[in-house]
């Protein structure tokens, strides 16, 4: 610690901090543009000049380190004169078009110009005009307004991990731009809008739709991945028009993924595939819009009929893992009230052998913020950058600070993280490969490994990963993270138990990267089967008479979309509670109950670290849609199920959680199953990712995101050797089939036509075909053996 004085106040600050950090510590504001606490120091805008005793010149507060005894004056004559001088220079070439600028009202330049600017400038020369750039569908540019602070450039290079923007040319002609013909394509691109202190970078979808002061603001929580990013929802006339990050250092820091920022467009979607705004029932094959009473009666009737005739177990409940805790809780209660134990929210999971053998609710295994403190990390089975962009970002920063990150997966996508080691194997080899790492770590630690793993030994790659893991500073800073792919894997329980062994050997931690907003909450809400109830896969494998679907589109959200569709289609009654409609739904459902998306209801998500985050509605329900918890409550009443008297979502939450804790209890990743290292598959194995912009029903309906680079149509990706083996060239149109089905099978639905693409990040004998997409839904299971043929 050193002692310094700022404007006459003495304070203690950490050695090595800068003047601006010290000033912030005591709540003193120093004007600045280029400085940002999460970015490297550029010191180029010169707005933060302050006077430092004995220094002949004003010093930039953002870059000047404190020194013991330093005296700083932020408002002295010298400081203010310097700040005013810089402000004048900033404004001479700025268009001052605030009345038509989207940043108007929230512009740092505008704000500071009022405080630090002179009313009139003597600059009378012609102002500079800078051509706008096409950064893609999400970010709009008005480059003439750019003040060259380079925050956006540093963001792409340092936080997003790849320098997509630069400052080309020099001097007065310096211009911020992407490489010619390129756009900004990272999954984090929208953050440059928040970072831009002026109106040079603004939201393209939001453009000109409202002035900032017309917007109402509500806090909310992201309904997408398991992180639970904190949001500010901005609405006008009860429509969400913009979503911004709400800073929370423990969760999303000050960032949002593009998915979280722009998916709100789906809230306003219209048309055949858009929002469902009226209750509807199917009578004699015809859909009719009806009153809520009629629809609810119809639904209750249908479910009661099936329960009566076939027993409660003839009903299956498929709940979206993006549904709120309250929705899941009431839905399971309703189903159980009807005598059904067939309840599940783990729609993309395919291995349920750990059910009943878990010691608690699977979770991240640590706090989100603790990820950044790990110095040795193994990520198993994860499309990390797209599935968990902000966790990837944390690991990216860790790796820069010297943490060693290794990956075990079936695709070598560029994570833009410096990796220490990687093992890329076919999906069926994932368990054996992880077992090798366990063996190698055991060998390095000089302890006996699980004899059940003995036969797989330990190859060089496993040894390299193991060497990295054991080389950390202390065991507790070593972490094994199981991604979505590992959780969806047909041997997920084995991966779980191996990670558990690994963590135990290392004295470290392991956990699951929560796929969805309520991947933890679903367990807590008891939205899983008990006893001989059927899990998500089983209730589709053995078709039911009736299904209750809450918030999901099973044909896209389940591990095997084709099967889900078939089972729903054959059912006598499918009751759907959904914010959206779709053609598939109209085909299989009997009743469509329009329920509110997260923005129009109160509720809670329990994020991957077990944190309960409740939120209020940001807008009124659209049309006749209603919060799902209310709809479920009425259904409970209609079906005369006990315990449906709650008057608020808070009451439901408190009932589900036994109060309103900050973190849920019972988090525990250990399972007690024997590892199964038999490689099931043999042949051309499918590697199925869930593309970031297709992962849930909301994002699928966000038009701007659907135009982004991450929304490309799925292709059939293979490495060079696999292409050659199948006589294919990149660019060939190919027929991809589920193995065993002949290509000439007329009317066969289990085949799709795709374009072959080279992807040398894949292992041999792997065919990467994305899931969760209409184009590939017919292929069925995410983990399967495929065949491919040139057309």
């Amino acid at each position: 610690m050193v002692e310094i004085e700022i404007d006459g106040t003495t304070l203690q600050v950490v050695e090595g901090s800068t003047i601006i950090e010290a000033a912030h510590q005591m709540g003193t504001y120093i004007p600045h543009f280029c400085y940002h606490k999460k970015l490297s120091i550029a010191a180029n805008c010169r707005m933060c000049l302050v006077q430092v005793e004995k220094a002949p010149k004003p010093m930039p507060a953002c870059a000047t380190p404190v020194a013991n005894g330093m005296k700083v004056f932020t408002h002295s004559e010298l400081a203010v004169k310097a700040q005013k001088a810089v402000m004048e220079f900033l404004l001479i070439n700025h268009p001052l078009d605030c009345p038509i600028c989207d940043q108007g009202g929230e512009c740092q330049l505008q704000d500071l110009a009022v405080g630090y600017g002179e009313s009139a400038s003597q600059y009378e020369e012609e102002k500079r005009v800078v051509p706008d750039k096409d950064l893609g569908p999400l970010v709009a540019t008005d480059m003439t307004r750019c003040i060259n602070c380079t925050r956006c450039i540093r963001f792409t290079a340092e936080i997003a991990g790849f320098m997509e923007l630069g400052q080309s040319y020099r001097g007065e002609r310096a211009e911020v731009m992407p490489f010619i013909g390129k756009t900004v394509d990272t999954e984090l691109s929208g953050n440059i809008i928040d970072l831009c202190p002026v109106g040079a970078l603004t939201s393209k979808p939001f453009r000109f739709s409202a002035r900032t002061w017309e917007l109402s603001r509500r806090k909310s929580v992201s309904p997408h991945d398991g992180l639970g990013s904190n949001l500010i929802m901005q609405t006008k006339h009860h429509r969400v028009l913009r979503v911004l990050p709400l800073e929370n250092e423990a969760i999303n820091e000050c960032w949002l993924t593009d998915k979280e920022r722009y998916s709100y467009q789906g809230l306003n979607s219209e048309g055949d595939n858009g929002r469902l705004t009226k209750p509807m029932v199917k009578q004699g094959g015809e859909w009719k819009e009806v009153d809520w009473n009629v629809a609810l009666d119809y639904a209750a009737h249908a479910l009661r009929d099936v329960a009566k005739t076939h027993g409660g177990s003839a009903i299956g409940g498929l709940l979206s893992p993006h549904a709120t805790l309250e929705e899941m809780y009431l839905a399971q209660k309703l189903l159980r009230g009807l005598g059904s134990e067939n309840i599940d929210f783990r729609l993309r999971q395919s291995d349920f052998s750990a059910d009943g053998k878990r010691k608690g609710t699977p979770w991240l295994g640590m706090k989100i913020a603790e990820i950044g403190e790990l110095d040795r990390v193994l990520v198993v089975g994860s499309f990390l950058r797209k599935d968990h962009p902000l966790i990837a970002q944390r690991l990216r920063q860790s790796a820069k600070r010297g943490a060693q990150v290794s990956v075990l997966h079936s695709a070598d996508d560029d994570l833009l993280i410096k990796l220490e080691a990687r093992a890329i194997v076919a999906p069926s080899q994932l368990p054996a490969q992880l077992a090798e790492v366990v063996n190698a770590v055991a060998a390095l630690k000089g302890v006996a490994a699980d004899p059940a793993l003995a036969k797989v030994g330990a190859g060089d790659t496993a040894k390299k990963i193991a060497a990295s893991l054991v080389s950390g500073s202390e065991g507790s800073k070593c972490g094994v993270l199981l991604g979505n792919f590992a959780q969806q894997h047909p041997q997920a329980a084995t991966l779980n138990v191996l990670a558990q062994q690994l963590a135990r050997l290392l004295g470290g931690r392991f956990g699951f990267l929560g796929e969805a907003a309520n991947s933890v909450g679903g367990y807590v809400a008891k939205a899983i089967p008990t006893g001989d109830g059927l899990n998500a896969a089983a209730m589709l494998n053995t078709p039911r008479q009736a299904y209750v679907v809450v918030g999901a589109e099973p044909e896209l959200d389940c591990a095997d979309g084709a099967q889900a569709l078939a089972s729903l289609t054959q059912a006598a009654a499918v009751v759907v509670l959904s914010p959206f409609k779709s053609q598939a739904m109209l085909d299989y459902a009997a009743v469509l109950l329009p329920v509110s998306p997260f923005s129009e209801t109160s509720g809670s998500f329990v994020n991957t670290e077990g944190r309960v985050q409740s939120f209020y509605a940001a807008a009124k329900p659209l049309g006749e849609s209603r919060p799902a918890w209310k709809v479920l409550r009425v259904l409970g009443n209609l079906l005369k199920v006990e315990g449906f008297e709650q008057n608020s979502s808070e009451e439901v939450r408190d009932e589900a959680l036994g109060g309103a804790p900050e973190f849920v209890s019972g988090l525990e990743n250990a399972v007690n199953v024997a590892p199964n290292l038999e490689a099931a598959a043999n042949g051309l194995e499918r590697v199925a990712d869930v593309p970031i912009h297709f992962a849930d029903s909301l994002v699928r309906r966000a038009p701007a995101l659907q135009k982004a680079a991450d929304s490309a149509v799925p292709s059939a990706r293979m490495n060079a050797a696999t292409l050659v083996k199948h006589g294919l060239l990149a660019g060939d149109a190919v027929k991809v089939m589920r193995s065993g089905i002949q290509s000439d099978g007329a009317g066969d639905t289990a085949q799709v036509t795709l374009v072959a693409q080279l992807d040398n990040g894949l292992p041999d004998n792997a065919l990467r075909v994305a899931a969760a997409h209409a184009d590939t839904q017919a292929l069925g299971a995410m983990f399967s053996v495929l065949s491919v043929e040139k057309i």
Partner: protein, 447 residues
């Protein structure tokens, strides 16, 4: 070839044979590499070596005049990876000494850099060579090959435990890379945008490693200093202004070129060596230290001696030793306009005051020169320069401001005349004749 003359040749001992005397054998014949050999065989300590350089009061020849020995002593001892970098990005208008140093005697710079590497414990060095002098870059590469072949570079130099290798990095047209941290960025393969200091290169330099950067002439002087001893070198010049210095004399003299003279030589003597004023015309003004130094009127300049202290006392800077001589045919507004254009063109663009200010200055001076100036413009120019100075990462903004302020200060009436009469005080025909371009080709003027 630039003509040269000298009072006390050290750096220029090997010059004068045109392109014939640069090679290794010539340099060795002149006693070259003897100092390196002496240091290596005697296993001279790093501290003794630096002490000797300190004694010479050699001040950096790149412009700032920082004592070289002191700079070397800042290098952390323990760091495993360190660099020595030579600044031959000579782009300061008026300066052309480093080019001739590498052209006529590249090995003195090489020897100086190797010795510096030894002194600060670096194993690798780079010489950053100005983009426009490709032939010089080639010459330097050829000299490096010679030195490598002779065992002066590489592993275990001359059988000692000391290893050092040296490479040339060629610039490609950016004045700002002369600024030492811009130069480091450039070697790292980036735009040459200067870095904020601290940290200084001695702690965080090339690739983030401790680095010593000196000007070519600074390195070239090292073997001579060690040859004659620090004290003898200091005594060649004046106290606090040790040794000899190369002055690049350009403009309206009869023999533009490089002149090596002891520090403290009267300007009048230098002017005389350069053949006096072209066409016998009258001296009007001199920029004594490169375009970034304030201009001095003739009478002030004639009283100066050529050393850091005397020129500073007169209100300018010795800078890089580039002496730009202007006679009465010069329109000072036009001269300033060209210099202001230079800084506008060369600003790297990162600092707001420099990026915006250099363009503003140029436009206003341009306007005045073109008869659209206003009375308030002179105050405006002073105010804008005031707002630029001392507020940027590097000194380019100051360098852009100094000429503006000094031209206005010393030649205010000429600016006022422009504003008032919308034309030059100096008749355009007189201006045209001043350059000698047309006269030289015209037969009638042959006499």
């Amino acid at each position: 070839m630039a003509l040269i003359d000298t009072i006390n040749p050290l750096l220029t001992t090997g010059w004068g044979k045109g392109d014939a005397g640069w090679s290794l054998k010539d340099y060795e014949a002149r006693g070259g590499y003897a100092q390196l050999k002496r240091i290596l065989t005697s296993k001279m300590s790093q501290d003794d070596l630096i002490a000797e350089v300190k004694k010479s009061v050699l001040r950096g020849r790149g412009g700032a005049g920082f004592p070289t020995g002191l700079k070397w002593s800042f290098m952390p001892k323990a760091a495993p990876e360190k660099y020595v970098v030579c600044n031959t990005d000579e782009g300061e208008p008026g300066t052309f000494k480093d080019r001739d140093l590498l052209r006529f005697d590249p090995h003195s710079t090489i020897e100086g850099m190797i010795i510096a590497g030894y002194a600060v414990g670096a194993k690798r060095g780079y010489n950053y060579i100005h983009g426009e002098i490709f032939e010089i870059y080639q010459r330097f590469e050829a000299a490096l090959d010679e030195a490598r072949a002779a065992g002066y570079l590489g592993e275990n130099i001359l059988g000692s435990e000391f290893s050092f290798d040296l490479f040339a990095h060629h610039g490609w047209g950016a004045y700002i890379c002369g600024e030492e941290t811009g130069l480091l960025e450039s070697i790292e393969g980036k735009k040459g945008q200067p870095r904020f200091k601290p940290p200084f290169p001695a702690n965080f330099g090339l690739y983030g490693k401790p680095t010593t950067i000196n000007n070519t002439e600074t390195f070239a002087a090292i073997p001579f200093i060690l040859g004659m001893g620090g004290e003898a070198y200091l005594n060649l010049g004046k106290p606090n202004n040790g040794g000899t210095k190369l002055f690049s004399v350009s403009g309206h003299v009869n023999r533009p070129g490089n002149y090596e003279v002891p520090m403290g030589t009267p300007f009048a003597k230098l002017l005389e060596m350069a053949g006096g004023m072209r066409g016998g015309r009258k001296l009007k003004a001199v920029i004594p230290g490169g375009s970034s130094a304030p201009v001095l009127p003739a009478d002030v300049m004639m009283d100066c001696t050529m050393d850091y202290d005397s020129i500073a006392k007169a209100g300018s800077m010795l800078g890089s030793g580039a002496v730009i001589v202007m006679d009465e045919t010069v329109c000072m507004v036009k001269a300033l306009e060209r210099l202001s254009y230079f800084y506008y063109e060369e600003s790297c663009g990162q600092c707001t005051p420099c990026r915006e200010g250099t363009g503003w200055l140029y436009r206003v001076v341009h306007r005045i020169e073109h008869g659209q100036g206003r009375q308030e413009d002179l105050d405006l120019l002073n105010r804008v320069t005031d707002n630029m100075m001392g507020k940027t990462i590097c000194a380019l903004a100051d360098a852009a401001a100094f000429p503006v302020r000094s031209f206005i200060k010393h030649f205010k009436s000429e600016f006022e005349y422009h504003v008032e009469h919308k034309k030059c005080l100096v008749d355009p025909e007189v201006q045209r004749a001043g350059s000698g371009f047309f006269r030289a080709s015209s037969a009638t003027e042959a006499a």
